[in-house]
């Protein structure tokens, strides 16, 4: 099996070289010290990845994506002063975007709206072999996002980092500043909740079926 760099970016779309990560760390340090050009450079590099994370949580065509993206940038700049470099800057930015998106989803006043737009969401990826695969993937996304709304924040964060961003337990522990055993425990609880949700509704039993 090829070596997988645990420090690299969480999903296939976030791959970058170690040199790039180091460059971002320097840029992040400068931005944290008050350099506006450095902040712009940082946002230019991590912005597209943050947008992708936000779209994964909210759906690609949700009208609040713009606002949440800007809120995420502000939250990232706020948090830079406390960033210790335990994880890569890109991973840190992913986490900020994820938490901002989850917080937006959790707002009860807009939850119904999110569900509405989630239903409208249409993601077409050529890697799927059939319309049925696309539909099942969409339903799985909706189901997991609904679960994340209801779980305790720490559990939801761990589950989202693992499922949505594809982070390993070590990466989650680094970015969330939590012991690995705690992350394992949170993931276990999250998966138990997912199983419970699946078992309570016979109409979604096919979520577990392999459609491909």
């Amino acid at each position: 099996m090829p070596a997988v760099d645990a420090r690299s970016e969480p999903t296939s779309g976030h791959r970058s070289t170690a040199r790039r990560v180091d460059e971002l760390l320097l840029v992040a340090r400068e931005a944290a010290q008050g350099s506006a050009p450095a902040a712009r450079t940082l946002v230019l590099h991590v912005g597209p990845a943050m947008l992708m994370t936000i779209r994964k949580i909210l759906g690609p065509s949700h009208p609040d994506v713009d606002d949440v993206a800007q809120d995420a940038v502000l939250a990232l700049l706020d948090a830079l002063s406390t960033f210790r470099g335990d994880s890569s800057v890109m991973t840190f930015a992913h986490r900020v975007a994820l938490l901002t998106s989850l917080a937006a989803r959790r707002k009860s006043a807009t939850r119904q709206k999110y569900h509405h737009f989630a239903a409208l969401e249409l993601e077409i990826d050529l890697s799927y072999s059939s319309p049925q695969s696309i539909l099942l993937a969409k339903r799985r996304r909706e189901l997991l996002l609904q679960l994340l709304d209801d779980l305790p924040e720490a559990t939801a964060e761990a589950l989202a980092l693992h499922f949505v961003l594809g982070m390993t337990v070590e990466e989650i522990a680094e970015v969330a500043c939590a012991p690995e055993n705690t992350v394992w425990s949170r993931l276990r609880l999250g998966k138990q909740a997912l199983r419970r949700k699946l078992s309570t509704d016979s109409t979604i039993a096919d979520f577990l079926a392999e459609a491909e």
Binding site: M1, V4, A69, Q70, A75, G166, T168
Partner: protein
Amino acid sequence: MTSDFCRSELVLAGRRRRLSASDQLALQLHLRECESCRLTHLFGGAFDATSQIHADDDRRLDEMLAASDRWFVQPRTLVRGNSRNQRLKVIGFAAVILATATAAAAAIAIRASESNLPPLAVTGSSGATQAQRHAAGQKPMPLGAGMSVTTVTPQAQPPEASTAAATKLTAPHVNRASPDANNVELAAEQLLKLATQARRDGSFAEASRLYRRLQRLYPASRETGLSRVTYGSLLLEQRQASPALYQFNRYLSTDSTQNLAAEALYGKARALAMLGRSAEEMVTWQLLLDKFPKSPYISNAKKRLASTP
């Protein structure tokens, strides 16, 4: 790499598309046996299909850069719930305030017992500290910095306490920790007034600073809702279309009253025109026409719609 109790690293490597042919076979075999990894594979894989790039990403990235610029003009200081260091700072600050209030109350109690003065009611953030002194005059007690005294007249006291004077002593900085709704509204109102005045005086930088301060400190207030439209218009005057658009969009999506929806739509359409996003501009003009057919901006809307083929 995760190596605990199952080969979940295969699932993650598969999601990162870093599996060799033999590893892919191993993954398939593993998924048949491990229900936990099957969950991760099915539900996590559903998110991997999300497109990397979206048609609006360039515009969104531009707005994110504008947000970054705004942050440097007036940085926010969020106390994030998941930051251990910041939580400790808040707890430490509260402890210092509590200790200061307790020490002041103790000093007052000692002075009262020494000078044979009437009882004194002392309230701090905890609301539990009481200093008693004997009834002998109503002179206010000497106080430390940042403390204030409210003397309660003897007539206001019940008969059994008529011989005693109760003085409420509060630390203003403690009270600010739990402001009531009226105080918040007053402060927001003052900020909006100051910002409006600065705008009328032609001081763009000062007005911008005050509007941002208002929006940062009181994001849910009525004044912040109003400021979205006025600040957006101010930004438009300065040809800053992208942040102006953000303000108008924010008003339209968050303000519960929507009293200025027509103005916000008018500003949004102008901002979109400035950004060259004509298709969205036309949709906005049409929305303005449909929703507010009697607004004063209708003639502009009709002209713009007519000028576009």
